[in-house]
Amino acid sequence: MKARRLLLAAVPVLALAGRAAAATVLIHDATVHTMTSAGVLQHADLLIRDGRVAELGTKLAAPSGAERIEANGRPLTPGLFGGIGFLGIEEIGLEPAADDYALKLGGAMRPEFDVSSAFNPDSVVLGVSRLGGISFAQLGPASEAGGSIISGQGAVVRLDGEVAAPRALFIDAGGDASHLSGGSRAGEFMLLSQALTEVRTPQLLLPNDQRLLTPAGRETLRSYLGGTHRVVVDVNRASDIRQVLAFARREHLAIALRGADEAWRVAPELAAAGVAVILDPLDDLPQSFDVVGATLENAARLNAAGVKVIFSFTDPEPHNIRKLRQGAGVAVAHGMPWEAALAALTRNPAELFGVADRNGSIERGHPADLVLWSGDPLEVTTLADAVFIQGVPQPLRSRQTELRDRYLQKLRAHAAR
């Protein structure tokens, strides 16, 4: 009975996490990884007020009434990126009624599909991920049988439940999507060209034409031609990456690559084109003939070549995105500079997806989006000690801690017998 009351009491806290009042907090003596040109600040103090980083410096005085957190040198970083995937749009795997990540309208190409409206801020996955120090993630729908190679759009979501304005468009290319383009990956470029022709020269369309896009779809696709919003292309094989680069150049698309297991083989071309790569730092096996060149050194090699790297798991399933920082640590163990690996989880994704004004760095005047860590944030034995989103301290509780504490009582009672 006691445990049940505890659970009920906790639920409103979790649900209201994002709406709680921003606190005035002084974090004293932290190692602040600003992810800006200011670099790493040792023994720094940070004042959170009105949801923002009000002050950042040394020997800051705490305003009266401010809560004080002694960091004792512990690392303070921006909240981490959770990758591209199904956060809040897949509560549970293998259960279609609890999954909203794929549009399957019989093969129609519907770029106007925006999966963000399915986002559930009360998904328990958010709470679990917040405890892992994740404060923002990019929603990305999936191309599945019955859908098309353009899977649709997604927003950046904050882990307090807020949905940001910018959208990205997702395209699936390569061997794993060729079943959606008539059985050949060459068909992917044919279909994309046809769609762009419909957008650019609608006057050529005749009433009885077989067309790929609805008027809304043409409008959506047109909005991505200006280069302000990102088109993310899922592609892995080196030769396919070259085709995508040429296509994007031809069509003036602002792209980023996702997956990109063989991107290291095309690193100079990617650097020259200024194309960012969103990769899974743990991919190192030839899972298919598209990724024969997969290696744990992909991130290190791309970074060394001057390519902007962002981490995201290949598997878009959201439940264990807290593991992404382990992937970043593995990238460091395989040659990536530590600061670059942290940037791939903070500044780089925030910049790529258009939320750098509120995520990915620690700057005076920015919303306070912070994690205080028990140690090296890329280390597997480190946990988040405090998480702030928009200046709001997040309760370090989740459905998993509720389960843990219920059964901890049972374990202790048993051990005491």
């Binding site: 293998l94 946990l383 374990l411």
Partner: protein, 478 residues
């Protein structure tokens, strides 16, 4: 010697497998102790693995986690003739010994993954390689995973780089009873027999829950479609196996007494496996997520008189850690997987620490993944951190047992590998520092005393035939 043992087994019909199979706490019936009347067919597919001759190796001045629960600082480890020869301070190197400077390094037993599908679900994961689930009948106890293993799976080598020296390859979980497993040494070989752990007991893969009922009920519209159907399905198989066993024992008795009417029962490969499992010769490894289902299976094991070696995946083991410990059943778990289906919704990252904390508990970290198998040490490290925050501190010398001694026990191999004790197989990993770190890398991996992986010399571990002539990444030592 080991090969001789296996060869003899074929002749005398009482296998080494029987002797090696020592479950922690057996509830098997008296029949388990009797000589089996069932032909030990495993003897006809013997291991051809022979460790290459190797010079003695002395690892000096390392931090040593022995797998027995102890941690030694500035310790030496001597490997001679494929075995652990000595552990201690200031050991003397034999004249021809290779000396390894262990300063700043940690040394552990070779890691053991009790749940892998390498070789049966190899990469590239193309349809032609899809050999892990004989999903054509809910009970395929007749199939053997070893007959699907492709030794050229590139995943074996990446697992070796993660310190894996022994691994159990299981059939998938589509079926109630999926078939026999095989335990391999992680050595390069053209044939699976060349990898087969000599005289290791085979396992039997069984599966609870969603997978069988989804594949058969929802997928094929045949039995079973529910969890109660699953239970009825296993029980029908065990009942049949008991009858088969009885008939064979009867036949053996008649043979022994020279009875004229002695007639051999018709051989059935499926029932061969199940009867051997009932006798304790084949160890039962059961995929089971939910606490309530594990409890039901424990009741079933009493009904039919067998022992469950381990529940695999065991996402809810923390809810019944006392029950598992009382029954002497290990739980093999992931560190932090959850939510990928309904039966994994209640996963918590402290699960392993809970199982470990129960008096007599046996916690194992497993992978079920060609990625996870590359860093079982990091999986354990994550649990240590979460456990500590919950007040369940697990020191490194204890946590290492989750990936060495405990899986060895569950596989019936604890007298031969899994710890750094004199006489054990010299399956050893030299790490660049503590293994419980994201920056941990295996520097050297020895299997039966032979150096099989050297991070500074990638050619020591040959790459798969599959990768020859492919645009694969050249290996650069970090």
């Amino acid at each position: 010697m080991k090969r001789l043992c296996c060869f003899l087994a074929a002749a005398v019909l009482s296998g080494c497998a029987m002797q090696a199979a020592r479950p922690a706490k057996t509830s098997a019936p008296p029949a388990a102790q009797a000589a089996t009347p069932i032909a030990p067919a495993a003897s006809f597919y013997p291991s051809t693995y022979q460790p290459p001759a190797s010079a003695p190796t002395l690892i000096r001045n390392a931090t040593l986690l022995s797998g027995t629960g102890t941690r030694l600082e500035h310790a030496d480890l001597l490997l001679v003739d494929g075995k652990i020869s000595a552990v201690g301070a200031s050991l003397t190197a034999p004249a021809n010994a290779t000396v390894v400077d262990g300063t700043g390094r940690w040394v552990t037993p070779g890691l053991i993954d009790i749940h892998s599908h390498l070789g049966v679900y190899p990469v590239p994961a193309v349809s032609g390689n899809d050999d892990g689930n004989e999903a054509t009948s809910p009970s395929t106890a007749n199939v053997w995973a070893e007959h699907s293993v492709w030794p050229q799976d590139p995943g074996f080598r990446t697992a070796l780089a993660g310190g894996i020296t022994t691994l159990q390859i299981l059939p998938g979980s589509a079926n109630l009873i999926g078939g026999r497993s095989v335990v391999l040494k992680n050595v390069p070989s053209v044939t699976y027999q060349g990898m087969k752990f000599p005289a290791a007991p085979q396992g039997l893969k069984m599966a609870c829950g969603e997978n069988p009922k989804r594949v058969y009920g929802a997928g094929k519209k045949v039995f079973p479609s529910t969890r109660m159907g699953n239970m009825a399905g296993y029980r029908a198989q065990w009942a049949e196996a008991q009858e088969y066993l009885r008939d064979n024992i009867e036949y053996q008795k008649k043979l022994a007494t020279g009875a004229k009417d002695a007639k051999a029962p018709k051989r059935d490969l499926r029932l061969d496996t199940l009867a051997a499992a009932l006798q304790g010769q084949i160890l039962i490894h059961m995929h089971c997520y939910r606490a309530d289902e594990m409890a039901a299976v424990l009741d079933m094991s009493r009904e039919f008189g067998y022992h469950v070696a381990a529940f695999h995946h065991a996402v809810e083991a923390y809810k019944i850690s006392d029950l598992l410990a009382q029954n002497g059943v290990c739980a093999a778990m992931w560190a932090d997987w959850w939510g990928f289906k309904m039966e994994s919704y209640d996963g918590i990252p402290e699960n392993m620490a809970f199982v470990d904390a129960a008096p007599g508990g046996c916690a194992i970290v497993h992978s079920d993944s060609d990625e996870g198998i590359q860093r079982l040490n990091q999986e354990a490290a994550k649990v240590m951190a979460y456990g500590a925050r919950a007040g369940l501190d697990v020191p490194p010398e204890r946590a290492i047992r989750w990936l060495t001694a405990n899986p060895a026990k569950s596989l019936g191999l604890d007298s031969r590998t899994g710890t750094l004790e004199p006489g054990k197989m010299a399956d050893v990993v030299v790490w660049n520092g503590t293994p419980f770190s994201v920056y941990a890398l295996a520097d050297l991996v020895y299997i039966d005393g032979a150096l099989r992986y050297d991070r500074a010399h990638p050619d020591v571990a040959p790459r798969s035939d599959f990768l020859l002539g492919q645009p694969a990444a050249p290996e650069v030592t970090p």
